[in-house]
């Protein structure tokens, strides 16, 4: 451990009697989520920064509404608190970088009564370095590494940007994804290139794992699970996903944006056997996931149909706006639709690990 690095740390230092005292001390100040935390000692924080080769004052980004700078040191402190390992820190820094990109418009999804969570999708070698999987219970705390990475991001939002319920966070309900919504794409068992490789325009060979590590962030509502175990036809499988997207447009928001589909192996295999690429899926869903505004009259929203009843609304502004993600356990004809927080007010952002945005 470099003593010079610990001496460069700028955060205020506090003295507590012991670990038990620390837990209570932090809870009293609202600086934890109520679960036990790891003490963010200068030595532990320095070890995270050393692993990522980042100086403490490295500017991860600037929160766009309040203009608050977020440094690597503050992200590292919260990553330690969350129970992360140093090897997970580059993923966390990248995730926070993505959230602070202008097009993510962080204030909206973190402050809105709509109660969005932040879905993080991790690609590339960083998954293995961070100890991530992307298989069993991919959206249900099946991956301890994903759980603590998401927790670290949540603590950064709370402690560095004051995104706490009743404070900046005005969520009416929120959803369980706000506790943690992080998944590693199962690239090695996917018939498609890695999500991030596609979004960044990089070459990738399906089924081998991509060379580039990256994090994609999406301001997301809760996952809506679908089931179709009674066909092998791609069109029928995707019709089920599209129907769930239309249901979201009827019951939640009609505005199109970045939707994510989580497609586990059983349904992926059928799509792959028929030779369907990610682009094929995106094009099909783009055409099928549409409703007319008049449908709102069927679900109790007739007062805002007005003279726009015949107008057609697409769930996706363009086919590319569909995030097709390979993840989930090997058996079961299930999948998930993850809707955007609200139309295009916040856009999905993909950032390579090691990249810097607005800094």
């Amino acid at each position: 451990m470099s003593t010079s690095l610990t001496s460069q740390l700028q955060s205020a230092r506090h003295q507590v009697a012991d670990d038990a005292d620390l837990q209570a001390w932090l809870r009293e100040r609202g600086w934890t989520d109520g679960l036990p935390v790891v003490p963010p000692t200068p030595e532990r924080v320095a070890s995270f920064l050393e692993w990522a080769v980042l100086p403490p004052d490295h500017l991860v980004g600037i929160e766009p509404v309040r203009g608050r700078a977020v440094t690597a040191e503050k992200v590292a402190i919260n990553a330690v608190l969350a129970g992360c390992s140093p090897a997970q820190f580059p993923v966390i820094v990248t995730a926070v970088t993505a959230l602070l990109a202008d097009e993510f418009a962080l204030h909206g999804p973190t402050a809105s009564t709509g109660g969005a969570g932040i879905l993080l999708v991790v690609n590339g070698p960083a998954r293995a370095e961070a100890g991530m999987t992307g298989t069993f219970s991919a959206l249900g705390a099946g991956d301890p590494a994903a759980t603590v990475i998401a927790r670290a991001v949540r603590l950064v939002l709370a402690n560095v940007l004051d995104v706490r319920p009743g404070g900046i966070d005005r969520s009416t309900l929120g959803h369980p994804g706000k506790l943690g919504f992080c998944v590693a794409e199962d690239e090695e068992h996917s018939p498609w290139p890695a999500l991030a490789a596609d979004r960044l325009g990089l070459a990738a060979t399906p089924g081998t794992g991509s060379d580039v590590s990256a994090v994609t962030a999406l301001a997301a509502m809760g996952p809506r699970q679908i089931m179709n175990e009674w066909t092998t036809e791609p069109e029928e499988i995707l019709d089920t996903f599209a129907a769930e997207m239309r249901a979201n447009m009827r019951h939640y928001s009609i505005w199109g944006g970045d939707y994510a589909l989580i497609i586990p192996p059983q349904l992926r295999d059928h799509l792959a056997a028929a030779g369907w690429s990610r682009a094929d899926i995106q094009r099909y869903i783009h055409e099928r996931a549409r409703i007319n505004r008049s449908e709102w009259a069927e679900v109790g929203k007739g007062s805002v149909v007005m003279d726009k009843g015949d107008r057609s609304y697409a769930a996706l502004p363009s086919a590319d706006d569909l995030l097709v993600i390979a993840a989930g356990g090997p058996a079961g004809g299930f999948g998930a639709v993850i809707p955007p927080w609200l139309g295009t007010k916040s856009r999905a952002v993909t950032v390579p690990v090691g990249a810097c945005v607005n800094c």
Partner: protein, 91 residues
């Protein structure tokens, strides 16, 4: 003893201060900033009319392009000539 680092931003949470409240509306130019949500239209129109009835010389209603983003530069430039500003959220 255990030494730990502070996980918070460590800044003053309220670095901004409000302008002094106007003693009267007479002759004042009042800006009204809408976040752009549909319900703000009739609400702020009624508010503007009420402000005019109470003596405001001008009520300048502007609508942000994105309710999730800060007010654009053009809005801030207009604010330079306002004596008071009404801003809030609407749904």
């Amino acid at each position: 003893m255990l030494e730990i680092l502070d996980p918070t931003h460590g800044e003053d949470p309220e670095p901004f201060t409000r302008a002094p409240r106007l003693a009267a509306l007479d002759g004042a130019v009042v800006g009204v900033v809408s976040n752009g949500k549909q319900g703000t239209g009739p609400f702020f129109a009624a508010l503007a009319e009420a402000l005019r009835r109470r003596g405001a010389a001008e009520v300048d209603v502007v609508v942000k392009a994105n309710y999730s983003a800060p007010a654009e530069r053009a809005v801030m430039d207009r604010a330079a000539r306002w004596h008071a500003l009404v801003s809030g959220i609407g749904d």
